[in-house]
Amino acid sequence: MELLNEIWQTARRNKLRTTLTGFAVAWGIFMLIVLLGAGNGLINAQLQQSARFLSNSMVVFGGRTSKAYHGLEEGRNIRLQERDIATTSKEFQNHIDEVGANYSTSGIVANGQEYISTEISGVYPNHTKIDKTEMLYGRFVNDIDIREKRKVLVLSNKQAKELAPRDYPALLGHNVKVGNIMFKVVGIYKDEESGQSEAFAPYSTIKSIYGANTDNAGNIEFTFHGLPTEQANEQFEKTYRQRLNANHEAHPDDESAVWLWNRFTQNLQMDTGIGIIRTALWIVGLFTLLSGIVGVSNIMLITVKERTHEFGIRKAIGAKPWSILRLIIVESVIITTFFGYVGMVLGIAANEYMDATLGHDVIDTGLFQATMFVDPTVGLDVCIEATMVMVIAGTIAGLIPAYKASRIRPIEALRAE
């Protein structure tokens, strides 16, 4: 209590010095927390995006040849065919689990007076695993649907709302018109807001109704296993590509005849990217903290120098070295703790503000919608740790000049002015 009173007196009589020290500390902590918060926001948004896709999955698209081969010129459009699906499921069983395909058509879905224009994707049951979809009501396309070519439809909640604005869950089990054909609504899924809304139907149904007169099989999608590293994936992609290219008389090394979208390697790359962002954030953050520490130690140095005469007086009238040392250290700790806390609270407040504003900002690119920042906050533990680091570093920085001041002989200190 006595000591606190002493410190309060000095702090009050040296407002500028106290403010400057405090500012250095508060600013360091504040910047660190805001920086880490913003970084976390970016990273969280990325993770949320990628969480929608199963990481051990791949989608195969037909492309366009880039090399002439077997007397065929380059620039041919390649469309994946039934035999590619067969090749995929039969010849790569070591790694590939379930093979599905996706054949899309656009159509008009109507329920009485209400109608929507949408993309209808004919898919296999495994589609819901690969592109994670959350069912709100009913079920997804199943194996019996595929086998019996049932005319069933899975709508998004948004589409359902447009078709039945009053009570959209009631649409479940009802028949709707797709073009001139009746389809039964068997499920409603949750639209993730990023990505175009589409309706799902069994692959066999869509293919036989809308794609019967073409050899185009749409996209192939499958899940895989046993490819833990980037090299293994590259090796697999290479053999798989060569095999598909052979189906289409394309050069074995032609990388644009078919496109492979491997979510696993994409995730790996993103993880590396996120790792780099994290490291960069911490480095910048630590340097920010360091500048705060330098600020504190600089001011402590000046403070001690300025007060040498005062310490001389105190020593002459009976202050022991320890009481001088304690005075300086406790003062430094209290000032850094107090202002560190202020900086921490302001930083958290800034993050919360960012969360409330930018966190709900949806960027609409026309093709898809994305959130730039998701939960741009830092854990309280990190905040407290950063403040602790600052306090401890500030104390150590103050310790050296304080120790010198406590050791100085009173006559020398009294001479200093």
Partner: protein, 221 residues
Amino acid sequence: MIHLENINKTYYGAQPLHVLKGINLDIQEGEFVSIMGASGSGKSTLLNILGILDNYDSGLYELAGVRIWDLSERKAAEYRNHMIGFIFQSFNLISFKNAVENVELPLFYQGVSRRKRHALALDYLERLGLLDWAEHYPNELSGGQRQRVAIARALITQPKIILADEPTGALDSKTSVEVMQLLKQLNCDEHITEIIVTHDPTVAEQTNRIIRIKDGVIENS
């Protein structure tokens, strides 16, 4: 009260300087003594040694029966706090503390409770006629008032001796007389041992005994 025997002190700089060359001195309890000498005579060094602010190379120094030799900083601070009251030429008050807080400070280092030392400090200020100025900061006080605050601060621990280094050096002649009268009165009424270092003969004349120091030795008067 003070017993000095063959005190030697040399400052080792670029040129070693033998400042005190065998000082022998005895001061009894209740004495009012002045130490006179030209600048460079070693009188300030002697005062610093008496005040345990500096150490000496050889000899014997006993203060109130306690041998002062090879003390740790902690012990020296404790002795200064309990046995010696300092009065400086430049007052040496702490600028961000008001009069009463300055007077309280030595008791703070003795661990005296806040209320008790505050009451005691006010008591001493009253005795020196400064009660109305207790809440004033040093820069709001005149030179004479500041020196009286410093005297109160020196007295509050009831020390064995008061050491005054040119106590009137920064004061005009009128206040000088007042401060000297005060010191004299303290000696007369309360039998406090006082040692005043000065080069001013009018100040020295008011003390009961004058010790002249020249080139590091005490001149026999």
